[in-house]
Symmetry: D2
Subunit: 360 residues, 4 copies
């Protein structure tokens, strides 16, 4: 029942979709690091709702108030807590959901676990909204990593069956990933934009939703980061990734596809690129034995279609203990994937900062 | 750099492939539980090498000596430490690998991380051999869970492109999974045996290797186990799964396939099955919002082809700082997947025991 | 560098004396517990400055805003974060202390640890003010424990050489401890009030300060709480106690005095008091082998005289690297002990709640 | 119920007084450090029983077998596990203690906590014997710290009312502390030897026991080690100290005596000793605000008289639920303090190594 994560840094999260405020307390940050409020603002905006017709109509400015841990614009080494007030909440939308369980949401298991005392409004503490503090913490982490030459960027790998262009796993072009961050639909190949939007908007028109895959790349990281049993880079990233609502799978490098290859095809041969040891392929996504090998880290995260759909669904009323039908009202994303891209960047940054903290 | 995992139980692992002994210390076990040495022995044997021509020729009896934590055959509540002596080690096989890095192994990143002080013989602490203590701990965990009616079983879902029969995600037949545990090749459909063995043995003949997918099912678990941010059931299982060498991906329920479905197809509708809330499909693999929903838990783990192959490979010599070629000698599995099945069961059992500890 | 504590509950603290706000995020609280704002307010007031001429003239209302984790007045099981705004800060008082180190304060070691980036105003994150969030969390913990019949109370055992009446370690009278909570000077024997006040006020007049001992008693706790190696009740309470600024010693039961007794004098003999096992003496303060034995828990905490005194002191200027003299201005407590009483109650309550969490 | 401690290093302890073996698994050790088996052996011998007529007649060689984590005599960075076989166990001595509770031992609370499943022979996991693995881990930690110029030494400050000479808190003479390590009775002033031995032996003759205080000094440590809330140096040392059976109090610097001083007497004034900031007194024992200030760390630990005495004691039989009398047989120390000195050094070393791990 813990809201705390991390070994070297520790993040402690709080808040509900319709409570007073959501936020995060980060301890163990390296000292003397600039807090760039503009960078934070940019990332918050990438996750914020209401930016386009592809997302929920709920509007939240998601302005972070930093309560502690900075002095003269720099980290002090003391815990840094940031909070975000909830503004545009319409709790009445959810009133009838107290006993009628939304399929594929946390409603039912949460009502069991918390014996009915959980704040069910908008999913309460289980809401995707609680990823906003993660994005805030991630923005700080990314900026600290960047000082060390480590760059993190993600893009939509696919929406339903529509795929974006692949990244070159041997040589990530960070300028591409930077430009993706500016886009409404964070993809590499803008030719796919119309198709993807069409998938999303036609689902929306049907009162339905779609999912997709986010791919994340990390460059500039040295070999030797991570640990075997039990703090592998994969364990650390995966742990955080599965904290993000709607994530149902993760794979590193070629991941599941590797199971179809022979060892001679899957193994990444080494060679000297000048003084530096490099690999000729990067099927392992930059991680061997749980440690970075100096190549770019690459991983894919599967995000299921938004559970909240307008279509009628079969479900149960746990108060009256009977089957019923449900049409979810309220404002929901027909596809959460575009807003999830920056969340995945954030968890990657936090995972790395935790694994590398001694180096800052 | 931690070898410790867990919140309610804590496992602390140790050992190297060619050191004195490997083992694990488990603290936080519930008290008064029978330690069934025969069950432990069975599981150890499922993972042990040398059982068939599909696995490495290294022979290890893998007998566990329990040093503490039991009294009159039952758990005492004090830490339970089990050790396994290494017997059949041929360290000379590895002597030349000190500076020549085996591709897709931990050798290179480990030599960087540990500044050359790591025990490189047979992969040292990174060896798959270190999963033996996990299987020991898992056997204890499984037996404790079984008392509560929770059953854990796994099978090979695929070897390369050959797929085993699917489990019914709504209604797992535990007798099938129990019978799978008795087989050399732990699959459901024995008609696939010849094909899978052929894939493995022809890779072996070529000095190559193959990978595969392990599917694990957990039945009998109540709704409401797990926690949001950051101790979701998925986070907990994935964290441990990625500690297992060669694991490169994990997905829950339909996982990556979910990203191709619409919300209306992916959502698992509820209904009352008598007094019990059940779902009509189980695409989410029994987990919603990070919590169990009372349906069977299902997840798939991608295991890459064994990195140690006999075929010549390009690599580097980090002492002489030059490119070189390598032919790995020693005894290796052409496919690690059959032996990994019980390891995946073990990590599932440990994850659940940790999440549920208060209930025993 | 962690601001997080706890195993079953986790508290994550933040804030600086002169920052925006101070606060605490508590995760792992049991669900469905009433949050009694009046009880919280009472405890906050016991710690708050400005209540009498015995304490600092700084006035802080110390009103807690709860941002999350409650719904309809009860705990939800989600993290509960409370914040307290800093109001009456006069940062200019501290401006000259950036390079001139206050003796016996954290100023010098903190400037080394944080490379000069720490917020030095009023001690920053090291300020005694940061105990206010602990008192808030402690008030919640005390109220949860009280439901189970566990009562926690403390009093001033001594100020300088003036001692309060002893508690009967075999039979704590909770009504006495409750009445102590209402007093300006939280002592049992009001006849000592004048003497103690005199010690404090004469030190104040001299620009000096005095210290003292707080004694804390916990009643109603069952035998068997705690754990050996490394989560003894003593370890858990001591760990938190030494987080409180100015604490320099702790002892359980007769503590240091026990070292002067023989085993036959020190041992607490058992007898049956009806159905209940009890001891004839309570020299061990209710704890044996790190576990509670069912008798009242008693411990004493040594609190050094307030480090901030007005008298001239020898010190160093670390910017100019020279010896200098310092007269501390600002508003300070001539004796922190009266305000520390409720802080010690708070850490006792948090320690017990952490050790017992499964029981709620 | 956890047997694991530490943030940067993690120690995981196991074993019972009369089980197969006791031991400890240490993860997070810095790499490439020499393991000096002779140093380890020396420390083990200082704690081992049977060395003189002042201690128990139980003889244990306490030879440690290191199972993992070293290669070519140096730490590898992988977990290092050491085990010690139990040899001279006479379990029959304890057979009648299953239901008759030894006063001031863990017997009674342990039987409640573990529902009677605990190994009660010789105190089981609660036995002072379990400090042997701590001494092993401490010897490694001390040797790593020594490389950095950090020296740890302890002596008996008092046995009953007999006091050893004081250390100079401003300037610890390490050669004195080294020579103390060679003595049967680890004190500074050998003139006190006869008196202390007399106190111990006359208690022994009466079938009784005595306690005492151990003082520990740490030199060569830089300013800035530790952390506020909740990882103060005091919290970290105290946490481990109270894991040691029989410890009932701890104080840093002047500790409880500080509560009798005025601020102007207690504060440690600063001055420049050449380039180095030093203090004119060291009443705070080298720790301010939870951080080291560069002065020697000094702390005292109160150790109660051995609970096992031969004299008849009143107690209860929990099986028959009746009062009874008990005369403890078996072999016991009339005073545990001489053997505890090296245990306190060990916990100090482990605490510091944990706090400083990044620096190695």
């Amino acid at each position: 029942m813990s809201g705390v994560w991390g070994n070297n840094i520790k993040i402690s999260i709080f808040g509900e979709s319709h409570g007073g405020a959501i936020g995060i307390n980060i301890s163990g940050l390296p000292v003397g690091k600039d807090i760039n409020e503009e960078e934070i603002y940019k990332d918050m905006k990438r996750r914020a709702p209401g930016n386009s017709n592809l997302t929920t109509a709920r509007k939240e400015e998601d302005k972070v108030e930093i309560l502690s841990g900075i002095f003269n614009g720099k980290t002090t080494g003391a815990p840094l807590c940031g909070i975000i007030r909830n503004n545009d909440t319409r709790s009445k939308d959810y009133s009838k959901l107290k006993s009628v369980m939304r399929p594929s949401h946390s409603d039912y298991p949460a009502s069991i676990k918390y014996k009915g005392f959980n704040d069910y409004r908008g999913g309460g503490h289980f809401s995707g909204r609680i990823t906003a503090p993660l994005v805030f913490a991630g923005a700080i982490a990314k900026s600290i990593l960047k000082e060390k030459g480590i760059n993190i960027g993600a893009h939509i790998k696919s929406i339903a069956d529509i795929e974006d262009t692949e990244l070159n796993p041997l040589n990530i072009d960070n300028s591409i990933l930077e430009s993706v961050k500016e886009k409404d639909l964070p993809i590499i190949d803008d030719n796919k934009k119309a198709l993807m939007e069409h998938r999303i908007l036609s689902a929306k028109m049907e009162g339905d939703s779609v999912g997709g895959i986010v791919q994340c790349a990390i460059t500039g990281i040295n070999a030797g980061v991570g640990a075997p049993f039990f703090d592998s880079v994969e364990s650390t990233i995966a742990h955080l990734a599965f904290s993000v609502p709607a994530v149902k799978g993760i794979e590193f490098g070629k991941g599941f596809e590797l199971t179809k290859l022979k060892g001679s095809e899957a193994n990444d041969s080494y060679y000297y690129e000048g003084e530096k040891v490099a690999t000729k392929t990067n099927n392992n996504g930059g991680i061997l034995g749980g440690l970075t090998n100096g190549m770019p880290i690459l991983f894919n995260v599967a995000i299921k279609p938004t559970a909240s759909i307008i279509k009628y669904q079969d479900t149960v009323d746990i108060e009256n203990k009977e089957d019923t039908k449900l049409q979810i009202e309220g404002r929901h994303d027909p596809c959460i994937v575009p807003r999830a891209v920056v969340v995945i960047e954030a968890i990657a940054a936090l995972a790395l900062l935790d694994l590398m903290e001694g180096e800052f």
